[in-house]
């Protein structure tokens, strides 16, 4: 099979080009490299490693193009492969086992176990925040600052929308551990995005 055929008759050019078609292959690689690299960079801080992930993702995509069943968009299918390859490389580096501290970004409580939280005048929603052009870069930077063990859980659970149980299986850790890391990652994200949220609330 040289082209993907889906039931909902997806346009032919959205499929993976055949190896013999050099021009289409180059166009395909150029079309997808940008977002694949951006996604891989979320998983690993090391730019060279992210490029390795994209390269091995492409070879999986070419090798397995006949396995794409058209149940999701081609981008979603390719996205899963990029995530898999990124995780594989991270696992090889053993960085998923590293436990870095993110205590600095955790919420604060006083001696009475009461939360210490600066009052908010208004909290903008995600759409309002994303209308501020710099928000995306701030989010990327915040995700980048999370240690691997927290970042990966956050990405798989909240961004790729796997269930907590699925993330536990993928990362070979307990469900409780996923929840703990996820909560801490989200709490850290809130702290890191807070200056932008407060700025957005004033607009």
């Amino acid at each position: 099979m040289d082209e993907e055929h889906s039931e909902n008759s997806a346009p032919k050019q959205s499929g993976v080009p055949d190896v013999s078609d050099q021009i289409k292959t180059i166009a395909f690689v150029r079309q997808h490299t940008g977002w694949m690299l951006r996604l891989a960079r979320c998983y690993m801080a090391d730019a060279a490693l992210a490029e390795d992930a994209v390269q091995s993702a492409f070879s999986k995509i070419f090798d397995r193009s006949d396995q794409f069943e058209g149940k999701s968009s081609i981008q979603s299918w390719m996205r899963r492969i990029v995530v898999n390859e990124s995780l594989m490389l991270l696992r090889k580096r053993q960085s998923l086992k590293k436990e870095d501290s993110i205590d600095l970004w955790m919420p604060e409580f006083d001696d009475n176990k009461c939360r210490i939280e600066e009052p908010w005048s208004a909290i903008p929603n995600a759409e309002q925040l994303l209308m501020m052009s710099e928000t995306r870069d701030i989010v990327m930077n915040a995700i980048d600052r999370l240690p691997d063990v927290y970042r990966i859980v956050l990405l798989l659970r909240d961004i790729e929308e796997h269930t907590t149980a699925e993330v536990a299986v993928r990362l070979e850790i307990s469900v409780t551990n996923v929840k703990t890391r996820l909560h801490r990652a989200r709490a850290a994200l809130k702290t890191l995005l807070e200056p932008q949220m407060r700025k957005g609330g004033l607009r």
Partner: protein, 100 residues
């Protein structure tokens, strides 16, 4: 050390009363609340605290908006933004494709 504001001192006393939870316990319940895994009793305690504690209410709202903003920043559509494609990577991918 700065003196604890009186409002928080009062809250601290209040949260020790029966059927109340402290902000720290509220914090521990958040993940299970969002996964709908709290027991009925925990759910009631959590929601009651949410109603009476402005700090926790605002904290949780900001926490959820952080999650949502991250999700939307990395959606299929959002990551498609034009970017300068590294030509050496494209060349490497094509070369390894041609070697097969």
């Amino acid at each position: 050390m700065a003196k604890t504001p009186w409002k928080r001192r009062i809250k601290g006393m209040m949260f020790k009363m029966p059927l109340m939870i402290t902000c720290e316990v509220f914090e521990d319940f958040i993940i299970e609340y969002l996964e709908s895994e709290l027991t009925d009793r925990q759910q009631r305690l959590f929601e009651f605290h949410l109603n009476i504690c402005r700090e926790c209410r605002e904290y949780l709202a900001a926490y959820k908006i952080g999650m949502e903003t991250a999700k939307q920043s990395l959606s299929n559509e959002a990551i498609q933004l034009p970017v300068e494609v590294p030509e050496d990577l494209v060349a490497a991918v094509i070369a390894s494709r041609n070697d097969r």
